[in-house]
Symmetry: C3
Subunit: 439 residues, 3 copies
């Protein structure tokens, strides 16, 4: 078990992993995604290069808990032309230029009227903001402050060649069966247009993670979801209550492509096994990291951790949403995410899953006093010298394995390396001194 | 609920409140109070200016748990005259001059003999000490060190024109009924003679608090007690075991008139709701304060928190008993207490009670995923921008309201303002998204 | 109860105690002890000067849990002679020169071959290491690095005149009955040859402790064990499961003769009463000390705290095993241990046992409000003055004695001296205000 993941990590080639991930992000970058529509479909299909994910189509109007699946939105073209007929704002240059879910519009209007539909970021005058209006029908354009200031008085022609009609909400799903019925959920939102860290990094790393796990033995089943934020998680939870009930551990992935330190936001439960496993793996990696307590805003952990669902799902990030200047702007681009950062995020996720997979409880079959390890060749024969770390691992496992302590408990109490403890436990099982137990 | 208290606090006039409180303390200051007697009666009647409190009279000899209500003590006059017939010590100048509960005495004696009955404070030579001898019959005079030193050799005439006879122990009580059967106890000792911070400040603030609460809607009933210290609390508890059983929260008030920072001494339970509410209100006020763990000496929390009673009653003070130099001396006078300090104490108590009154538990009626707040006009329509604190309050309440968390729990976890959360919760109730639940 | 121990501590003569202990260590120092054999027997018999301990003999081959009692080892003589017939290594000079449990050997061999059987400590070239080979038959010599380097090329005659034959494992036991059936275990290993701190200090202090306790009243029974490390503890536990079940508190003693600060290693349970008692006694002593969490290597707490035994047994030391340079070398000698250190260790153990013996739970017989202490002469009659520490002890005990708090709980919460609380509690019992309760 998990030996496969250990093997992957031992043979880790960060450079080639990073290149594949960055290349995928680059290809998906120009597409105009939304919570529905063809951009979303095209992006999800593109992830087929990693694993054969299924696309699910949920019709407009479907009731999902307190919500209704909205109309499908698609946009072909959009622009603002000046009086000379020149495109001064062009959707083809950035999918962010159109307020997401804008209704169709084609009209001429003066600059004063036009400005009511223009959004900018005065503080960062070269960046285009990201804006949406999913549930209130309206239209608008997002411009850099400089673009906006350069608009001269006069008449403009605006065109948003969009459709907002009954259709479907699309999401991607991929399930890897494991030995047990318990599921690990990996979920990432896939609804943002040309934003790299905030959606493409998570989508891509999740897909490559799925591909790697498909090659290793698995204790748990793994369920990967690529879904539109909020409405997608609500839709999946509403339509899959039985599958949701099998989720034993879960992670939302987002913002895993920037070079910042890792950040883990705990599940609502706060001390779920996934929370402890991630903390252990981050600490063991020996690099700076940050732990945040749960709060009910952020990504889809909002839904997974709502009080009537309350799944043990945390959020794995590098720099969190709202904590980097480029967040929700055109500067969340291919310069913000880097190949090494993407590769390291994937590597850390594998090390987390390695701990999760191997975090068993064991029972010492010889619980009264220590067994005689020496005659089994498991202990130095020459006495008087000090104990080795291998012997310490043996003794800690034998001492703590009364059925109530997991290997992670033992790792935390002994301060010994989890992987060494896990290998030692399996060696003791092979020597009939220990057996695995389920909680 | 509680809107009334919020309203009082919004229209707070510290100057006029302080003036009324200080004026009352001034009027009560000269009276010679004790654990029984006419000075106590007169003081309690004087509080009728705020609320119509009832005076209870418990006969001498009544058995109250391990104690017996003592004889009633009254004193008309007391003095020490020198050989020239001049009053060198005069009870009319300070009620502290007589050891409280001194038996009647009228005799002539030399300075040496007299000194056996004189108590002074050599460290603070201008201050008169406060001394009592309730349960051992004796007599004595308390003098400043300077007064004592100025006594020349010669014969003196001492007179304590007191009576110590069967009578009654008097206490004051005022009950404000509320919606629920549960009571909040506000208790203050009223047995000290001319001491301002140590008894008059609490007595007066409690009376004005009762008056204000009589004008606001009340979830809880409020029971105010003005009682002689120790024997009064024991008497009340012994004769009111059923009423005591309804006390859900309680505060002993004392030393609330000096300008020192607020001090709260926790109940014996240590984590009772009142303990958490007071701590929250003090922290929210943004000024320095101190929290003390329970100890079995101090004021009547000693009795309320005895092991067979164990009520959730803490002690609310500014500078605690024994922690200011003037404690139990004639310097605990009208210079030590100030109008602004009295007013601020009252204000802080109101903010404590405001939290207590509004600290409900709620249940999210839509617990699976977030409800769609946008279509109810409760959430910004334009996406991509960051959340507001109002939205955060909404989301925290919805997320945590599973019936196990109170608003105070949510305030502590979210670090959001309690009042904002309380208002938001009621707004969600009005929108049918939440309902109140009783524990 | 315990008054006897308090009395012993009040009349403490550290100088004479230290002299007796150091003298005993000195006499036992040259003897070649092992996990079996005559050196062990002789050492245990020598402790008869303190108490009449019983020697138990367990035959070779006896099955004890996963282990088998080994053959008995005895050694009469051992040496390495050079080609001139001179003894260049001589067992008579240090029992450490022979690898413990070496099989008999008598042969001539060249230096190269000889070196395969020689062990040294190159880092500390004047010290002889301590080595054993209990469970793998082999032979060897331990030399200082300088001795080893001085060996010239040539032929050597080696002789180990030992026997390794069926016989017995010997251990010493001494039981002092007390009022209750519950036992306190004091266990020390006695199997190391010429090592002073690591075995002789514990053996000697334990024996004198037993002697002192035999003169005092005892709430608990005390069971003292002098046993070979590991196999001795396993043997005792395997053959005395019923007696083991009566052990309510226990300490392993080792390394109590060096001048370092005290170190206490907690039991596996971590918060057992013995853990809290030792911590309290060490803190109260006002000198630096260290607390360690349990780990499954060290002394026989390894066996007592194995998961199927899990007794509340900690390990009381000064400088722990492996934490001083002289550990397991010839430098753990009569220069390392000192008479004052031995005496202070004994003194601290007595203060620990004093707390353990007196750590009762009490019930306040008058739990509703405070009892009237004044009429019983237990409280100052003059009011207005501040409370004394004696009164505080009274009030804390009365307040906390609801049957759930032990005196140690009260001492920790009140920060009052344990002995003062214990004396006060007995005084309250004498006044019919309190009674002792068993948990």
């Amino acid at each position: 078990m998990g030996a496969g993941i250990s093997g992957v990590l031992q043979g880790w080639n960060g450079e080639s992993e990073g290149a594949v991930l960055y290349q995928t992000v680059s290809e998906l970058y120009p597409i105009c995604r939304s919570i529905t529509g063809n951009g979303l479909r095209k992006s999800l299909k593109s992830l087929n290069r990693f694993v054969p994910l299924s696309l699910h189509e949920v019709p407009t109007g479907t009731q999902v808990f307190d919500w209704t699946v909205p109309k499908e939105w698609n946009v072909q073209d959009a622009y603002i032309k000046n009086s000379k007929g020149e495109r001064v704002v062009d959707f083809n240059k950035s999918s962010l230029h159109v307020v997401n879910y804008s209704v169709p519009v084609r009209q001429k209007l003066g600059l004063g009227e036009l400005r009511k539909h223009i959004f900018t970021l005065p503080q960062t005058p070269d960046w285009i903001p990201y804006r949406t209006s999913y549930y209130q029908e309206s239209w608008g354009f997002c411009l850099s402050q400089r673009q906006s200031e350069s608009l001269a008085d006069g008449e403009y022609e605006v065109c948003i060649d969009s459709t907002l009609e009954p259709g479907h909400l699309t999401y991607g799903e991929f399930v890897l069966p494991g030995e047990s019925e318990a599921d690990v959920l990996i979920s990432c939102h896939s609804c943002h247009p040309s934003l790299c860290n905030d959606n493409l990094s998570g989508m891509t790393v999740a897909a490559r993670l799925a591909q790697i796990l498909s090659t290793t033995p698995r204790r748990y089943s793994y369920r990967f979801l690529w879904i539109p934020g909020t409405i997608g998680a609500i839709t999946w939870l509403a339509l899959n209550e039985s599958a949701a009930g099998r989720i034993k551990h879960g992670l939302v992935l987002s913002c895993v492509g920037d070079p910042g330190k890792f950040t883990y936001k705990r599940s609502r439960r706060g001390n779920a096994e996934i929370d402890r496993v991630v903390e252990h793996a981050l600490r063991s990696a020996g690099r700076d990291y940050e732990l945040l307590d749960f709060s009910p805003y952020g990504y889809d952990e909002r839904q997974y951790c709502s009080p009537g669902v309350n799944l043990p799902v945390g959020c794995f990030m590098r720099t969190p949403n709202g904590k980097y200047r480029q967040y929700h702007t055109s500067a969340d681009n291919l310069d913000l995410v880097t190949a090494p950062a993407l590769a390291e995020s994937l590597q850390r996720l594998l090390s987390i899953i390695d701990v999760l997979e191997r975090n068993h409880r064991y029972v010492n079959l010889n619980p009264k006093c220590e067994p005689q390890l020496g005659r089994r060749g498991l202990y130095r024969q020459m006495g008087g010298t000090s104990s080795t770390s291998s012997e310490e691992a043996l003794l800690w496992i034998l001492n703590m394995s009364d059925g109530t302590h997991s290997l992670l408990d033992i790792a935390e109490r002994s301060k010994l390396d989890f992987a060494k403890l896990a290998d030692t436990a399996e060696m003791l099982v092979a020597n009939q001194l220990l057996r695995r137990t389920e909680k």
